[in-house]
Structure formats: structure tokens, C-alpha cells
């Protein structure tokens, strides 16, 4: 093994570092647009899924065209008024971190059939056991019946908490109601075990089956639904009257 003096070592390390840095920055900047497009597409796909409009063989082009033609993204303030702007500009996570609930802006995605608003999707973010859970919740235009739910990003235990991303869990939510018979907001809760073992109609309408071995993740889902739906109640109330 040859001896190298300190100057050589220093120069050598600098050159290696420089080459690696150049390589990485080139790669990062040239792949950036493609990566951003991928994340944006992933979001669209999940919004579509929450509306129940995503089939197994839906192509990327179909998702894009469906999104441009049938989905409208609006922004509402805490009082429930629609304000100017595009829903895609609002990052609910940043809003929640930097502002109090009264000052936040809330994105809403609306599904339109022949120009009529038929369903509304809102982002839901909460805490599971290990990680943050990100998803979308879609309501029918009575602002009461759940149309669909999806979770697209989480770091829960595979086979346990990660089952929130599974179809069987998400299907349980479809048709559940977030208001009780008197029109009071009570959200939907995930129970421990089978919901029908604990509740009869009409209470069964506000509870879904849990995942065994994933109680904390399920409680997280209950919490995030309650928290995020509460923030949207003014908007829902305003629009419910206008129907």
C-alpha cells in the first residue's frame, strides 16, 4: 500500500465529493419533473378512488382526463365560504402546522356529473401508531353519507395497521353517516372488533369494523375523521341548506 500525504488525501477527498455531488444534483434535477408528476398523479388517483371512480384497469390517461373534465377543486375558509383559488395550491398539512383552525384554508374536490355537484372529497390527515396517515374521505351531496375513503400514505405495520389501505377496510365506510337522526355531527368511529356485535341500527351507521391487532391505528383513524370533518362542518352546513 502506497503512502499518501495529507495534501493528496485532502485533494482526493474533495474531488470525489465534487464528482458525487455533481452526479447527484444532475440526476435530481433531471428527474424532478417526472417525480413530481408521479406524486401529483398519485394524489389524483387517490381522489378518484375516494369517489369510487377508480377501476383496476383505469389507465393514467383516463385518470388525467377524468380529473380535468369531472372534478373541480375549490378552496373554502373556516366559515365555510368558497373563496377564489385552486384546491391543488393548498397543502392541508402546511395549513394545519402554521395556522389555527379559524385561519386555515381547506381544499375540497367536487365530482360533477353533467354540471351537477354529486360528491365532495376532503383530505384527511392524522396519526397512527408509527406514522402519519394520509387519505381522502368522500361524502355524497347530502353531506352526510360516506361515499368512499382511501389512505394513500402511511408507515403502519404491514398486515396489521397497514390494513387501513386494504379494500375490505375501506369498503366498510361506504354508506355510513356522519350525522345522527337529528342532524347533529357525530362522525364515524372505528370499533374494536365487529361493529354489529356492539351496535344496532341506527347507531351501526356511525361505526365500522376495526382491525384486530391495530387498535391504535384504528383509534387514529377515528380521531382524524372527527378532527378533519369538524373543520369542514361550516362548509357542509352552508351547502346543505342550499340543496
Amino acid at each position: 500500500m502506497q503512502k499518501h500525504d495529507n495534501t493528496y488525501t485532502l485533494i482526493f477527498v474533495c474531488i470525489v465529493a465534487l464528482i458525487c455531488a455533481l452526479l447527484l444534483s444532475t440526476a435530481a434535477s433531471s428527474l424532478r419533473s417526472k417525480q413530481d408528476a408521479n406524486s401529483a398523479y398519485d394524489v389524483k388517483k387517490n381522489i378518484l378512488k375516494s369517489f369510487g371512480a377508480l377501476k383496476e384497469n383505469t389507465t393514467r390517461a383516463e385518470v388525467e382526463s377524468f380529473f380535468t373534465n369531472k372534478i373541480e377543486g375549490i378552496i373554502v375558509d373556516a366559515a365555510g365560504n368558497e373563496i377564489e383559488g385552486n384546491a391543488n395550491e393548498i397543502n392541508p398539512e402546511v395549513e394545519a402546522k402554521t395556522k389555527t383552525p379559524e385561519n386555515r384554508l381547506y381544499p375540497v374536490y367536487i365530482l360533477k356529473e353533467n354540471g351537477v355537484r354529486v360528491a365532495y372529497t376532503i383530505p384527511i390527515i392524522g396519526k397512527g401508531l408509527w406514522s402519519k396517515l394520509y387519505g381522502y374521505l368522500s361524502l355524497k351531496n347530502d353531506f352526510n353519507t360516506i361515499n368512499g375513503i382511501t389512505f394513500y400514505k402511511h408507515g403502519e405495520t404491514p398486515g396489521l395497521g397497514a390494513e387501513i389501505a386494504a379494500d375490505w377496510f375501506q369498503k366498510n365506510f361506504v354508506g355510513k353517516k356522519i350525522l345522527d337522526q337529528n342532524g347533529k355531527f357525530i362522525s364515524v368511529s372505528v370499533v374494536k372488533g365487529k361493529a354489529q356485535d356492539y351496535y344496532d341500527e341506527p347507531k351501526l351507521l356511525h361505526h365500522v369494523d376495526g382491525i384486530s391487532g391495530a387498535t391504535i391505528t384504528c383509534n387514529g383513524v377515528t380521531e382524524m375523521l372527527k378532527k378533519d370533518l369538524t373543520n369542514y362542518q361550516p362548509f357542509f352546513a352552508n351547502n346543505r341548506e342550499s340543496i
Binding site: 488525501t9 477527498v13 465529493a17 447527484l24 398486515g159 396489521l160 391487532g213
Partner: protein, 209 residues
């Protein structure tokens, strides 16, 4: 001294890591990722490919510059090269295989700390020519990849009843099958890996010294 590109010795360099000197079953390296990403077959295969790329790439690069690397900073240089390659692989996966990169999440980044990679650089690339190092890297990468693929296959089959996301058990076995929850968790992988090491060591007649 010149020797044929695929001399008997070079062939051994390439094929030894498949069984007699397998990084996972004999050297018991890289266990963490082998347990973590193998709940399904597809991510296991992608992870295997990523490690093959990184090990062979890093082996070639380090072997090429092995005489220029100052000895006292060689580990740092090795880590920088490995880290660069890993981040490149991660970026490419994010751009071209988004869904899989979401599934693999941090584990692609953790290839940097995979002992197999640094182990091959230290043990082989620092003292051998680029071509031999490439063979050694490919061999070790493949040796790692096939173990992952087998574990991924078994875990997905018994844990979720499917292969590559296609429902298999449900179609072939009508009596009804309850998915084995243990298989999708890390302990299931641990048990499988233990059994695999046992079988593989028995077949290759490996004795621990």
C-alpha cells in the same frame, strides 16, 4: 499477467456467493432488509435488483480507483461512493417505479448501511481488478437477491394468498384458506429465513468453524 475473462477462478468468484459463500445464508449479512421488504414478492425482487446494481457498481468504481485511494480515508470514500449510487437508484425508482418505491420507502436508502456492500468493497474490490470485482459484485448481489425472492414468494403466498399481487390460493384451493398473519410480520420472515439457512447449509455441507 493476463487471464481469460471467464477463467475457472473468475467463475468461482461469480458463483460462490450463490451458495457456498452466500452473503445471507452463510455470512448472515443484510438480514435487516431481508426481513423488512419481503412481505411481498414484487418489492423483494426490486430490492434484489437495487442491491445488485449498487454492489456491482460500487465494486467496479472502488476497484478502478483502488490504488489512488489514501488508505486512511478509504472507508469514507467507499461510503461516499455507495451512498451516491444508492441515492441515484432511489431517485430513478421514484421517477420510473413510483408505486414500488413507495412500498420500499426507507429501505432503498438503507442499502447504504447494508453490510454486504461495504463488506465486498473491503474484502474484494480494494484488492482486485475491476472485471473480477464486477463479477464478485454481481455474484453477491444475485446471491442476496435469490434469497429475498424465495422469502418474498413464500411470505406473500402464505401471508396474503397471492403471488405478485394475483390471488393464487383462492383460485387453486377451494376448501378455503385463512391467511397466515405471522407470515406478513417480521417474525414470520425470521423463522422462514432460519429454515432457509438450515436447508441451504445442509445442502452445501457448510460447517461453522
Amino acid at each position: 499477467m493476463s487471464e481469460a475473462l471467464l477463467s475457472a477462478k473468475n467463475k468461482r468468484v461469480f458463483t460462490d456467493p450463490f451458495s457456498e459463500n452466500n452473503p445471507i445464508t452463510i455470512q448472515v449479512l443484510g438480514i435487516c432488509s431481508a426481513l423488512a421488504v419481503t412481505a411481498q414478492l414484487k418489492p423483494s425482487i426490486v430490492m434484489g435488483l437495487a442491491v445488485i446494481t449498487v454492489v456491482s457498481g460500487a465494486n467496479v468504481i472502488i476497484s478502478t480507483i483502488r490504488n489512488m485511494i489514501p488508505n486512511k480515508v478509504r472507508i469514507i470514500i467507499e461510503m461516499v461512493v455507495v451512498a451516491t449510487l444508492v441515492i441515484l437508484v432511489d431517485q430513478i425508482l421514484k421517477a420510473y417505479a413510483f408505486d414500488i418505491s413507495k412500498q420500499l420507502s426507507v429501505f432503498v436508502g438503507l442499502i447504504i448501511t447494508n453490510c454486504i456492500v461495504l463488506g465486498r468493497l473491503e474484502a474484494f474490490a480494494m484488492g482486485n481488478k475491476p472485471w473480477n470485482s464486477l463479477l464478485d459484485g454481481l455474484g453477491n448481489g444475485l446471491g442476496y437477491a435469490w434469497v429475498l425472492a424465495i422469502i418474498g414468494f413464500l411470505r406473500e403466498l402464505f401471508g396474503s394468498g397471492s403471488i405478485m399481487g394475483h390471488d393464487v390460493v383462492g383460485k387453486l384451493y377451494y376448501a378455503g384458506y385463512v391467511n397466515n398473519g405471522l407470515m406478513v410480520l417480521a417474525p414470520g420472515a425470521f423463522i422462514l429465513l432460519g429454515l432457509l439457512i438450515w436447508v441451504q447449509r445442509t445442502l452445501s455441507k457448510y460447517v461453522e468453524d
